[in-house]
């Protein structure tokens, strides 16, 4: 008996040490700790925070930026950046809405339009970066302006409303109690996790961020991989536009201004190195939720909206500062 108890204690000790070890070494550890700390603080500050309803609410709010951040993670892992995601999302949503409302085409075509717009602009970015050898920050900055302009031209500046009712399912529907946007987001994260961790392509994404020359000289098709990550970012922007359009029930050419910065913040808060090569997609999910909790919590606590910007900035700085040693 005492023997058994000893064994148990030892294995518990080992378990604890293993957990500690993991905590000190996993790139996910720090984002998780941040998430927990901020959640607990918010829970103390507002009684309404830890309700099932509010947690689902946060996740639903997070979904759009969360989906954008998936593509952003791919791009940042290769050492690039995509400033165009917000604008591409707005253009995809506006054109999809336009196709359905103004041309009366069926919803499937609308969805397809959104995806094609996202894919097309993503390929354009990727082509300019990979074959044009231009820095991604500049290419996507230009694409951002182009996509915004096109969206406004297409819609004439008016939001496009009058969408068929089922579109709202993507934004406000629920399966059981789980909001549809949350399900869409989680599915996208699951797919991204598989792609990054279980496929050769995923390895190549990391390799390019780690040492592009080495990857290229060893025979990795670095240009194709770079094309692909920007295409993925375009597609996730299109998927985000589906959720957003469902939430707003209209195509908004000026939606998503500044979302690219939120997506970048989510990726970096999630522990991904901005220089590429290191990071986990689950970290991005945690980062996105952390940002969402900040927005939600500061609202719940009733902080002056101007002050919210300041507090958010400080918390991001603090989180990255503490996290820099882990990376």
């Amino acid at each position: 008996m005492s023997h058994d108890a000893n064994l148990d204690a030892a294995s518990a000790g080992r378990g604890r040490r293993a957990a500690l070890d993991w905590l000190l070494h996993s790139p996910l550890a720090l984002p998780l700790v941040g998430l927990i700390v901020v959640s607990v603080l918010m829970g103390f500050a507002s009684d309404n925070f830890f309700t099932v309803d509010n947690i689902l609410n946060v996740l639903r709010q997070v979904s759009v930026v969360g989906i954008l951040a998936v593509g952003m993670t791919f791009v940042i892992l290769t050492g690039g950046i995509d400033l165009s995601v917000g604008a591409v999302m707005a253009l995809a949503g506006t054109m999809a809405a336009g196709i359905m409302v103004n041309m009366g085409l069926p919803g499937g075509i609308g969805l397809l339009t959104a995806l094609l717009v996202g894919l097309g602009l993503g390929l354009f970015n990727g082509f300019m970066v990979a074959w044009g050898k231009m820095p991604s920050i500049i290419v996507t900055l230009a694409t951002m302006g182009i996509a915004r302009g096109l969206g406004l031209i297409y819609s004439g500046g008016y939001p496009i409303s009058g969408l068929p009712g089922w579109v709202s399912w993507f934004g406000v529907g629920r399966v059981g109690i789980i909001p549809v946007p949350v399900i869409i987001m989680l599915v996208i994260y699951a797919v991204a996790w598989v792609v990054l961790q279980r496929t050769p392509f995923g390895r190549h994404v990391y390799a390019i961020g780690g040492n592009e020359t080495a990857a290229r000289l060893s025979g990795v098709r670095t240009r194709s991989v770079k094309l692909a990550v920007f295409a993925i970012s375009g597609v996730t922007a299109a998927l985000a536009s589906v959720v957003l359009t469902g939430r707003l029930m209209s195509g908004q050419p000026n939606a998503g201004v500044g979302f690219e910065l939120d997506a970048i913040a989510a990726v970096v808060l999630g522990g991904t190195a901005i220089a590429g090569g290191r990071g986990l997609i689950l970290g991005t999910l945690i980062g996105a939720v952390l940002l969402g909790i900040l927005n939600n919590g500061l609202n719940l606590v009733g902080i002056n909206p101007y002050m919210q910007d300041v507090i958010k900035g400080l918390i991001i700085l603090l989180a990255i500062y503490i996290g820099r040693e882990w990376r």
């Binding site: 390895r203 390799a207 990857a215 290229r216 000289l217 060893s218 025979g219 990795v220 098709r221 290191r278």
Partner: protein, 500 residues
């Protein structure tokens, strides 16, 4: 003049120097020898204040010193030429030489004229003539090395550390350097000289200290020892004749690669050559003669002025090293860290980097078990010394890193391997193993192109040798014509040079 006592240094939990002593006198050239990873560079970084020792004392001119950074070491009369280049690519030679030690006019602005004159004077002493106004990135590797040396000389140091300065120099250039070193020695400067070229040690050095695995294994004068004994001290065992025997040439072997014409984008001669199965084709030439650029142009990694290639007799257009891989051509790049390895990846991930064709599960996914098995197999074939396949490659010694890059090609059905400077910065023990690996490859029927700046290696390994000068092949030699006079004659301006 310089004395180091019981120096210990740990990186994280790993101790790499276990109490090293070193004593260097004024007016001597002191060789510091050891295998890759023995701790030579680490020790010298401690001398110059770039890293701090975990314990131990440094005594300069009889008084104990502690250098918090390089500036303090410089103030104490210490100068160093780093093993890794420390030049700024877009600044010119003058700006690089005086970086952080600029001469200023009374207004606090740069005194560009004075710096230029002083730079020119130092370079004249080294007998090199290089353009002072272009970014150093546009200089050849040897010229860059001289800028590096001139930068250290400009400090007027009384203790000068040269960490593998000759690795990128030709014999003639090495002679210029030695001449300056002798002058400095005569002027009473203490010089620490690190090199893997043991002949150089006997030419220039007075005393020798040998490190092995972070321990000092001995100190002696040059007169007391010979090459074999040094090698044994470094490696801990005798190395028999390091070049494996050359098998007889097979003139009937298939031509696996025929380069009909290739010309570099920067111009130069149009080259052509053939490569046969089972042979080692050496590419010799001075540093910067365009060997690397030529093979990169053939592989499509570099834009070429023109390039026409047949693989197995069929004309192919290679646009990317990936196309080379598809045709069974693999490259071992000249710089492991910059071009060969993803240093943050594990051995496993580096070995399988370009090889997922073999480890697929379903069509899309990686078969992790197979990946691990194949990697372990490849690691044992090239005898990588590491904790395991999941060790990060940046924790390995240079020789083991090089073997990881080689291991990458073992699980492919390769035909042609291009080894660019396969033994640069690699100690004698690992060198012999790599030579044996190359022979194992040719025995399997692989063809090898070996680019090397070390003549003995070219001579000892190659079945035929293409000699490069100013961007292209100027001669191809074989058989008994593979000797240093012949090769150097073609590689330089045509005058016969006598090489030590």
């Amino acid at each position: 003049m310089l004395e180091m006592k019981d120096i210990r240094k740990s990186f994280g939990r790993i101790e790499v120097l276990h109490g090293v002593d070193l004593q260097v006198n004024a007016g001597e050239v002191h060789a510091l020898l050891g295998e890759n990873g023995a701790g030579k560079s680490t020790l010298m970084k401690i001398v110059s204040g770039i890293i701090q020792p975990s314990s131990g004392t440094i005594i300069v001119d009889g008084s104990e010193r502690h250098f918090a950074n390089y500036d303090e070491a410089i103030a104490a009369g210490i100068g160093i030429v780093f093993q890794e280049f420390s030049l700024i690519p877009y600044l010119n030679a003058v700006e690089n030489m005086f970086l952080a030690r600029e001469m200023k006019t009374s207004l606090g602005l740069l005194d560009r004229k004075a710096m230029r004159q002083r730079a020119a004077a130092i370079l004249r002493k080294l007998e090199v003539d290089l353009p002072l106004d272009v970014p150093v990135a546009r200089l050849s590797v040897a010229e860059q090395q001289f800028v590096e040396i001139a930068k250290a000389l400009s400090l007027d140091a009384r203790i000068l550390v040269l960490d593998e300065p000759t690795a990128t120099l030709t014999p003639v250039e090495v002679e210029h350097l030695f001449k300056v070193m002798r002058e400095l020695r005569a002027a009473g400067v203490a010089i620490v000289f690190i090199s893997h070229h043991l002949e150089e040690i006997f030419e220039i050095c007075d005393r020798i200290t040998v490190l092995r695995d972070g321990e000092q294994v001995g100190s002696c004068t040059v007169a007391e020892t010979d090459i074999d004994q040094l090698v044994e001290m470094m490696v801990g065992r005798r190395i028999e004749n390091s070049f494996p025997p050359k098998p007889a040439a097979d003139p009937g072997a298939n031509v696996v690669l025929e380069v009909e014409e290739v010309q570099l984008r920067r111009g130069g001669p149009v080259s052509s050559f053939q490569l046969r199965a089972g042979e080692i084709l050496g590419f010799a030439g001075l540093v910067g003669s365009g060997r690397t650029e030529t093979v990169l142009s053939i592989l499509g990694a570099y834009p070429a002025a023109r390039c026409k290639v047949r693989v197995d007799g069929v004309e192919k257009r290679l646009r990317d090293p990936a196309d080379g891989l598809a045709h069974g051509i693999g490259l071992l790049p000249e710089s492991r860290k910059e071009q060969g390895l993803v240093t943050e990846f594990s051995i496993l991930q580096n070995v399988s980097l370009n090889n997922y064709g073999k480890y697929r599960q379903g069509h899309w996914f990686i078969d992790f078990k197979k990946e691990l098995a194949c990697t372990e197999d490849a690691m044992s074939q090239v005898r990588v010394k590491a904790q395991g396949p999941r060790a990060r490659v940046d924790t390995l010694s240079g020789g083991n890193q090089q073997k990881v890059v080689i291991a990458r090609w073992l699980n492919h059905d390769m035909q042609i391997l291009i080894f660019d400077e396969p033994t640069r910065g690699i100690d004698v023990g690992a060198k012999a193993e790599i030579y044996q690996l190359m022979r194992d490859f040719t025995a399997r029927g692989y063809a090898i192109i070996m680019i090397s700046s070390e003549l003995p290696e070219v001579i000892g390994m190659s079945d035929r040798v293409c000699v490069f000068r100013s961007g292209g092949i100027v001669a191809t030699v074989q058989g008994s014509a593979i000797n240093s006079e012949e090769i150097m004659t073609h590689a330089t301006t045509g005058r016969v040079q006598h090489v030590a």
